[in-house]
């Protein structure tokens, strides 16, 4: 008997280790009511402990590598590569100003939307609070599209929190450790996000395929879906707030498993392969955050100053118009305010100064323009309230003939 164990000890050790792992696997898989096997969505205590050990062993060197790389990039970008920075700053400032104005314009729609939602008993959730985190490592497997961030339970992160960038959604928090967390990307095969196509309003579930492309699955073949259509979050998965950008449709392919269905390959809006910093949405609410309110107030103020600037410009143009020759008569008597009980005086058209006839008259030449479209000589006098400065201009704009209809008035 002893010689048997010695002779086959290699094989016995192999079988023992394999058996132990198979038993471990069996514990982690569940059989659902639908007859399919799935992995337990929440790790058991033992599995979680192993994951935590592995993370504790790998995270510190990863943080070191990541910090070194960031430090080098920071030095290069902030002290060496500063060409065109001033110009970029100015461009960005202009962009911010423009976006603030646009935001102020959209604010009215948002407020109206909130009021309407309150009426129908539906509450739109807004991103209320986020935590910025650095991506420090990955799973290291092409079959597992997840990465690690440098914030964990110490920043009150929790499972199933949405992870985004300013470009679009990235994924969701899968597991939280004391000082780090796992983020499952939207292009993983086991992920899932509710999305909607912006134009056709077709809803579906987004998940990854074998080569890491996000695709919308479970859609009946539809000719209306075209490449380039924008994909947004639908908000029904209770993870991503509604309306966040997901990407654009890249192409539509037939579902290899089901004939009547198609897979819509999506080009993600966020650069999933180049993630350095992400935002974890730690809370959503039906109201704007203080930061958002501050931004909106700034936008409103900017909008007010913009309106004042436009008004100032208008005044300046009026002053200029008053000073132009022939448009007003400086010697004309000031208009007498109407007395009650007295008939309205007939306004007097100021005499036009004599100008030399134009050699090549066009519709801007003085003396040609005041031609009404009909043969009513008193038409201009029928609008006595109009300012006199506009009187010569208005007929010129309205009746400027490309070909003269009254040859006797041509010079």
């Amino acid at each position: 008997m002893e010689s048997f164990f010695i002779r086959y000890r290699n094989l016995l050790v192999l079988l023992a280790i394999l058996l132990a792992q198979i038993v471990g696997l069996a514990v982690q898989v569940r059989h659902t009511d639908s007859g399919r096997n799935t992995l337990d969505p929440q790790d058991g205590p033992g599995v979680r402990l192993i994951r935590m050990w592995a993370n504790d062993a790998v995270s510190p060197p990863e943080r070191l590598f990541h910090s070194s790389r960031l430090g080098t990039v920071w030095l290069w970008q902030n002290y060496i590569d500063l060409r065109h920075t001033e110009q970029q700053n100015q461009d960005l400032q202009k962009t911010i100003d423009r976006l603030r104005l646009e935001q102020a314009a959209l604010l009215e729609d948002a407020k109206q939307g909130q009021r309407l939602q309150a009426l129908v008993g539906f509450q739109q959730k807004y991103i209320y609070q986020t935590v910025a985190a650095q991506a420090i490592g990955s799973s290291g497997s092409d079959q597992s599209r997840l990465f690690y961030i440098d914030k964990g339970a110490d920043y009150k992160l929790e499972r199933d929190m949405a992870v985004i960038t300013p470009d679009g959604i990235v994924g969701k928090v899968r597991e939280v450790f004391p000082h780090s967390a796992q983020v499952l990307e939207i292009n993983d095969q086991t992920s899932g996000a509710g999305v909607i196509l912006a134009t056709t309003r077709i809803r579906g579930t987004l998940r990854g395929n074998a080569i890491g492309q996000p695709q919308i699955v479970g859609i009946l073949a539809d000719q209306r879906i075209q490449p380039g259509e924008v994909v947004l979050t639908a908000g029904g998965d209770m993870i991503f707030p509604r309306g966040l950008p997901v990407g654009v449709v890249e192409k539509v392919v037939r579902d290899p498993d089901r004939d009547a269905f198609i897979d819509v390959i999506v080009k993600p809006a966020a650069h999933l392969d180049r993630l350095d910093e992400v935002l974890v949405i730690t809370s959503t609410d039906a109201r704007f955050s203080p930061q958002q309110q501050q931004d909106l107030a700034t936008s409103e103020a900017l909008k007010g100053s913009e309106a004042a600037a436009i008004l100032e410009k208008k005044k300046a143009s009026e002053i200029m118009a008053e000073r132009l020759p022939g448009l007003t008569d400086p010697n004309a008597p000031a208009p007498v305010p109407a007395q009650p009980g007295q008939p309205q005086p007939t306004p007097v058209t100021p005499p036009a100064p004599k100008l030399l006839p134009a050699v090549h008259p066009d519709r801007f030449s003085p003396g040609i323009a005041p031609q009404p479209p009909t043969d009513k000589p008193d038409q201009d006098q029928s609008a006595p309230d109009k300012p006199t400065s506009e009187a010569p201009k208005k007929p010129a704009q309205k009746t400027a003939p490309r070909t003269p209809t009254h040859p006797q008035r041509n010079p």
Binding site: A54, S138, D142, S144, L146, Q182
Partner: protein, 173 residues
Amino acid sequence: MPTMGGNPRRNMEIRRYPVLVYALVPLAALVLQAWLPRALRGYAWFDLPLVVTVYFALGRRSPIQGTLMGAAMGLFEDALTQHAIGINGIAKTIVGFLAASVGIRIDVENHTIRLALNFLLSLLSSAIYVFVYRMLLGLNLKWSWIVEIIKAVDNSLIAMVVFPFLDRLQIRE
């Protein structure tokens, strides 16, 4: 294929390394496997833990040590993913065992044989992974063999660089 006659186990050299090498090289492989895909913008079609497992299994020529190292590396890799712990563990356990068993019978000093072994064992590891995932666990997994072939080629190329470097770390008597 160059093989050793008589009792091969007695005639072939068993490589020995400082204890720190046994601890740090696998750890470095695991850390780099987790970090490099981010630095390489998502490119993860390589398997450094597999390369290190094959190297030590071939050099040590001990099936038990190869099995244990493969199991440890695979379980560690699984722990960093969201998949069940043990899928990579089973694949690399078998790979470690086979590499050590082959190392007993053939001359693994030849670089061509090393590269060929790396290529074949990479494909075998992928096949076992698919088998465990789909057949044993009955889970759904989309698969691309082209990706696995590319990964096997990458592993061979990495082995071409890493093996000579690790050879320098062994204890010479």
